[in-house]
């Protein structure tokens, strides 16, 4: 099955699942309320977005300079930078590093970049135990599922789903409260933290001028992952770099506000290298894996370069009417929702993933929510155009558009095709072609007469006649769309 077929199948199943819809709605309604309340702290939220966008633009458009500066500063701090062109390169480096140091147990703090490179699978293949420590990710790992949302990994689960899972795994009562469940995870994972040899984290930002990695977590798992194990490995996309330490004075609050409605995340940690001589603890080794894995392709597309501004806050997912209906797993990608639909064709195979450009109503809610002002919905249109130009689209669709274009240019063809279409509608032929649409929606009944015949009758009755009430706009279902250029 192709990715597009899988997507259609999963999305169709999810939209028809009322429980799924209720769980998502409950989650997103709570999120919306927290974000609205958080915005009351701001005198000018729009200006905060502009500042954040400006910082990311500066970084992304001078990426070579800031990456080199970051690398130099990490080296001065006693850490090491590894450049990985592909996911495979990154996995190999990290697994070999772990093997070289006799690592048996790894603790992971939530990181989308490590999801992208499937690091856990690589650790498992090498016989190294790796344990997710963010509560949501821990639950995903127990269920053998990828995260459902960039920052809310188990948005699709209810408390009783989690209670049932913990009952089966840890013998906790089925009636456990959220607090009791979190407490079980805390106890389970505390032992793991203390015995782990390596901590793997992602990065929310890479600070070029001080060579530090910025990590935001509410649970404190990020802090423990960088405090207790003897090796700390960071996996981060090259676009995560920001120019200055001081930029975090804007980016930390903006990320927290749009991610959860908090003034700032509970723990915003900066790690710049292994422990220093005078410090009592901290890892002896510090490695940063800078991941390209298709990001330079996106960088080369100047039109869509701002998609690299993304700070992975999840706001566009929460705003998206498509995400709210189909949920995160249907996309089949590491990065879900509108931003995932924009970047996945660049990071992975453009042909295989171009169908995601259509998983949007183009309402622009994503663009309106984006804290770094990425033109998300316009990029979905760019990807549609690119797919057509590169002939990734369906040949049948291409033929249909050609036929339509040809028919629309000639009055006779237009009239005849309109008549044929109305006939086809009446006898259920159109429904055959439009089955994915009509199986859960009613097709409008075609009127007895078309606009042309109404008009010619009206012309006989003089200019003062009222306009006809029932007007049919030509061929069935095919409202002429504006050409996009």
């Amino acid at each position: 099955m192709t990715a597009a077929q899988q997507f259609r199948r999963a999305a169709t199943a999810k939209v028809a699942d009322p429980k799924h819809r209720a769980v998502l709605e409950n989650n997103i309604v709570t999120y919306d309320a927290a974000v609205a309340l958080g915005k009351t702290r701001y005198a000018d939220w729009e200006n905060a977005r502009s500042r954040a966008a400006q910082i990311k633009w500066e970084a992304v458009n001078h990426l070579d300079r800031y990456l080199e500066q970051f690398e130099r500063a990490v080296g001065e701090n006693g850490g090491r930078v590894f450049w990985a062109e592909t996911a495979e390169d990154a996995r190999r480096y990290i697994v070999e590093l772990a093997q070289r140091h006799g690592v048996q147990k790894v603790v992971k703090s939530k990181s989308m970049a490590t999801e992208e490179i499937h690091l856990n699978t690589a650790f498992a293949a090498a016989g190294i135990e790796s344990i997710e420590t963010d509560l949501g990710e821990f639950i995903c790992q127990l269920r053998g599922e990828p995260p459902y949302h960039i920052i809310t990994p188990i948005m699709h689960l209810t408390k009783s789903d989690v209670a049932a899972l913990f009952h089966e795994r840890f013998g906790t009562p089925l009636t456990a409260t959220a607090e009791e469940l979190a407490c079980v995870a805390r106890e389970q994972l505390r032992r793991v933290f203390i015995s782990a040899d390596m901590g793997v984290t992602g990065a929310n930002f890479l600070v070029a001028d001080t060579g530090m990695v910025a990590l935001s977590t509410n649970e404190g798992n990020g802090r423990l992952s960088v405090s207790l194990p003897r090796i700390h490995v960071v996996v981060a996309g090259i676009e995560k770099v920001i120019p200055r330490f001081e930029d975090l004075a804007v980016l930390w609050p903006v990320l927290a506000q749009i991610g959860t409605g908090q003034a700032v995340t509970s723990y915003n940690t900066l790690v710049g290298g292994p422990r220093r001589g005078s410090e009592p603890d901290g890892p002896g080794e510090f490695h940063v894996v800078l991941l390209d894995n298709g990001r330079t392709c996106l960088l080369a597309d100047a039109e869509q370069r701002d998609a690299l501004h993304c700070i992975r806050c999840g706001a566009c997912l929460n705003a998206c009417p498509v995400y709210k209906n189909i949920g995160g797993h249907a996309y089949g990608t590491t990065y879900q929702g509108p931003i995932g639909s924009v970047i996945t064709p660049h990071l992975r195979d453009a042909c295989e993933w171009s169908h995601l450009s259509y998983a949007s109503s183009l309402c622009g809610a994503c663009t309106g929510a984006c804290p770094v002002r990425i033109d998300i919905h316009r990029h979905l249109l760019h990807n549609r155009r690119n797919a057509v130009q590169r002939k990734f689209d369906n040949p049948f669709q291409r033929l249909a558009f050609k036929a339509w274009f040809w028919a629309m240019r000639d009055a006779t063809c237009y009239r005849v095709s309109g008549k044929l279409a109305r006939l086809a509608m009446r006898f259920g032929l159109v429904q055959l072609f439009l089955k994915p649409w009509t199986q859960c929606r009613n097709l409008p009944v075609s009127p007895a007469q078309d606009f042309r015949s109404l008009w010619s009758k009206m012309e006989g009755t003089g200019p003062s006649a009222p306009p006809p009430a029932n007007v049919n706009h030509g061929a069935a279902g095919a409202a002429p769309s504006k050409r996009y250029s």
Binding site: G220, N221, E279
Partner: protein, 192 residues
């Protein structure tokens, strides 16, 4: 030598030959509402993120009674008040540290590995107590970063953390639960 570095950088450079327009400049208008009196604001915000304020030596003594095993950062300020700690961070009921500064706008505490006894002491024990002075409160993050830059530029500690309340999670149905992996309780005592 790994050729990836040069490959990635050369792809970056060639990609950047096509320029993109800089987004419209932000205006001069302030992003946030005014902070007001820094101590009042810190107290309000710190309490809002579920931090506990200890207002007198009596309260501090009372609070500490619950924790027989105390780990401290070794700073003069903490030792003056509490004497020497009894255990390491790993075995402690409470970790007591000083801080680099406090941020009024978000009710946050900034600790560095150098000042606050390393990385684990302020996150591993179930409770974190911060001994601070009122003159350590700065209005906002911009002021805090300016202070840190002045203090550490050229010789940064290996780790810094902006702490805003106890550890928490809302992963399950967005229900807020305090005490995920880090401290379940964070308290501040002003020693001057």
């Amino acid at each position: 030598m790994n050729p990836a570095r040069e490959n990635i950088l050369s792809r970056v450079r060639s990609a950047l030959r096509a320029e993109t327009p800089r987004p419209p400049a932000p205006t001069e208008s302030p992003i946030w509402l005014p902070v007001g009196d820094v101590e009042t604001r810190f107290r309000t915000e710190f309490t809002a993120v579920r931090g506990d304020l200890l207002d007198s030596v009596q309260q501090l003594r009372e609070f500490l009674k619950a924790f027989p095993k105390i780990a401290i950062d070794g700073s003069a300020l903490v030792r003056q008040l509490l004497g020497d700690g009894t255990v390491t961070a790993r075995d402690a009921d409470i970790g007591v540290t000083v801080c680099d500064c406090l941020v009024a706008r978000s009710g946050s505490i900034i600790v560095s590995a150098r000042v606050a006894g390393g990385r684990a002491l302020s996150v591993l024990p179930p409770v974190h107590l911060v001994i601070a002075r009122r003159d350590q409160i700065v209005p906002d993050l911009a002021a805090a970063f300016m202070l840190l830059r002045q203090r550490y530029d050229g010789h940064w500690p290996s780790s810094l953390c902006l702490i805003s309340g106890p550890s928490r999670t809302a992963d399950i149905e967005k229900i807020l639960v305090m005490g995920a992996h880090g401290p379940k309780q964070v308290a501040v005592y002003f020693a001057g």
